[in-house]
């Protein structure tokens, strides 16, 4: 592995963690609660995509599309079950409820698809040769798809009416309801978007590795690191934080120690927190939270 390869794979994996983190931040900003099941949604989307791709035999792009829609709908269901009945309860209760959902997803996947690691097709098979380095097609696909997705999310949140409605709900649910916004629909839309993003991340990442039920917890833990490094509650921060996590994982794993890879990420996190306690992009949101 030379440096360019490490860079590309680090950035690609980092963007995936960043996407998971971004979904968490979207939910956090709207309802003020961390979703501990986000990584498990990523894992579950891998299995759903496997079902369409390997069992039914659809091409990867189509199965990805179907998977993302299904994950979005699961997000709405998740919101209905794990958040809406609890919206007036203490936030601790909602956190525990999302943890319960994480258990349900993980065990549900194991019961439906079994404990054996599964594999599926890649969006872009093969690899590209660039000088002495061999870049895998899937990594490039991840970077391109994620870039398009991020541009789309930015456009949606900043330039459209729907985005304004979602941001208004995120800032103050009560005030939003006073000016005639349907908070219920807005929250449901946020969950749809957030879980669909986790679905995209899952369908992009799982073809590189095998799909296992354990992927959920590890990606959640890395996404938490991304959120804190980037600054709590900031969407660009989540992406940058994710890329930093991915790079630390790729380079640290090769040059420092592969056994302490995960620990290394958190050493970096603690270092960031010591020198910049609010994270790289931390600002107003953090004070509000």
């Amino acid at each position: 592995m030379n440096n360019l390869q490490l860079l590309v794979s680090g950035v690609a994996l980092g963007i995936v963690y960043g996407l998971v983190a971004m979904g968490m931040v979207l939910i956090f900003r709207t309802v003020g609660v961390m979703n501990f099941a986000q990584g498990n949604f990523l894992m579950f989307s891998g299995y759903v995509c496997y079902q369409f791709n390997q069992k039914i035999g659809l091409p990867m792009a189509i199965s990805m599309f179907i998977t993302i829609i299904i994950m979005g709908l699961m997000g709405i269901l998740f919101q209905k079950v794990a958040y809406w009945p609890l919206r007036n309860a203490p936030s601790k209760a909602i956190v525990v409820s999302t943890m319960g959902a994480a258990f349900v997803l993980q065990e549900g996947a194991r019961i439906i698809w079994g404990a054996v690691p599964l594999s599926m097709d890649r969006l872009i098979p093969g690899s590209v040769k660039l000088g002495s380095s061999v870049l895998q097609g899937q990594y490039i696909a991840i970077i391109i798809v994620s870039a398009i997705l991020m541009a789309f999310i930015y456009f949606l949140l900043e330039k459209t009416r729907i985005g304004s409605i979602m941001q208004a709900t995120a800032q103050d649910q009560y005030m939003a309801s006073l000016v005639g916004i349907s908070v219920k629909k807005s929250v449901a839309l946020t969950f749809f978007l957030s879980i669909a993003i986790a679905g995209i991340a899952g369908t992009l990442m799982t073809p590189i590795f095998f799909i296992t039920t354990g992927v959920g917890t590890t990606s959640s833990v890395k996404a938490f690191a991304a959120i804190v490094i980037g600054g709590f509650g900031s969407i660009p921060g989540a992406i940058i934080g994710g890329i930093i996590v991915g790079l630390v994982e790729a380079f640290g794993g090769t040059y420092i120690s592969s056994t302490y890879q995960l620990a290394l990420i958190y050493v970096v996190l603690i270092l960031v927190l010591i020198f910049r306690p609010q994270g790289l992009f931390g600002g107003k949101i953090q004070e509000k939270a």
């Binding site: 961390m34 501990f36 079950v81 794990a82 009945p85 609890l86 309860a89 203490p90 601790k92 209760a93 909602i94 525990v96 409820s97 943890m99 319960g100 959902a101 994480a102 258990f103 349900v104 997803l105 993980q106 065990e107 549900g108 019961i111 917890t217 833990v221 938490f224 690191a225 959120i227 804190v228 709590f232 056994t259 302490y260 995960l262 620990a263 990420i265 958190y266 050493v267 996190l269 603690i270 927190l273 306690p277 939270a289």
Partner: protein, 328 residues
Amino acid sequence: MKNKLTKKNIVLIAVGVLIAALVLNIPYIATSNYMIRVVNMSMITYLVVLSVYVLLGMCGQNSFAQAGLWGVGAYVTANLTTKFEFSPIAATLVSILATALFAFIIGFALFRLREFYFTFSTIGLMVILNSLFLNWTPVTGGAMGFSGIPTYSLLGFKFRTEAEYFYLILGVIIIVSILMNILYKSSLGRSFMAIRDNELAANCLGINSLLTKSISFAISGALCGLAGALYASMSGYLSSSTFTYNQSTLYLVMIMLGGTISPAGALIGGVGITLLQELLRPLENYMLLIFGAGIMIMMIFQPEGILGGGKAFYAKLRKKQQSRIGTK
């Protein structure tokens, strides 16, 4: 008024004696050593969940590192007894102190961060500790695990069977519960709760919140150290796969299900859920699925946990009764 109280007291004492008689006879009722082991494990779990209670229930700080601290206690005992020939009792005392000190120092560093930031840094602590347990082979046995930890001995009496361990751990948890009650009523306990309710106001009243929170982390570390030492010597074998982030999550779920309003919540959550998991063992394949769904349903109907729900129910019942009599 006095009459009513004594009547109530008699009932309470009778129930207490009945429960005590039942609990003391568990080793005789149990049909197999395995069952006693499960009960022992549930009591150790109670100790760790109690440590979550001190931090979350009393002080309002959420930590995901409890399984890691539990592991620190266990590995300290394991190393002291096998490599430095400490007696298990001495090793237990050292690991309580060591884990408390470790937690205090880490707490002092991490409590500079607030709320969510602190919680995330404890996830980091947990991940770092777990990779140490898995990879620091000379001290933790690495992936092979740590075996050959001696059992307890007290004044020449050796604790060997599960039943003997049952009484030992029962004795320990009774002492700990009494200490916890003292803490709950002490001024330190009240400072914890002041920080939980409003940190700014607590600061204005002259409470050093950084120090107080670190102390609460140290107390919870001491409990984890004790639980770890008991676990190490009871099972005789340690594996890094026991002390994971998922395990920490489970402890948090236990305290939330039991209720965070008093230490009894830790008892209900810790012991209750460990035993329930064992009861659901025949459904092994679906156990965690049912468990997860159960957590969600439970939170929807009882967001304050079993204890909170029970208390509200009791208050409602009393209100009804009183209104029937006609007094307010």
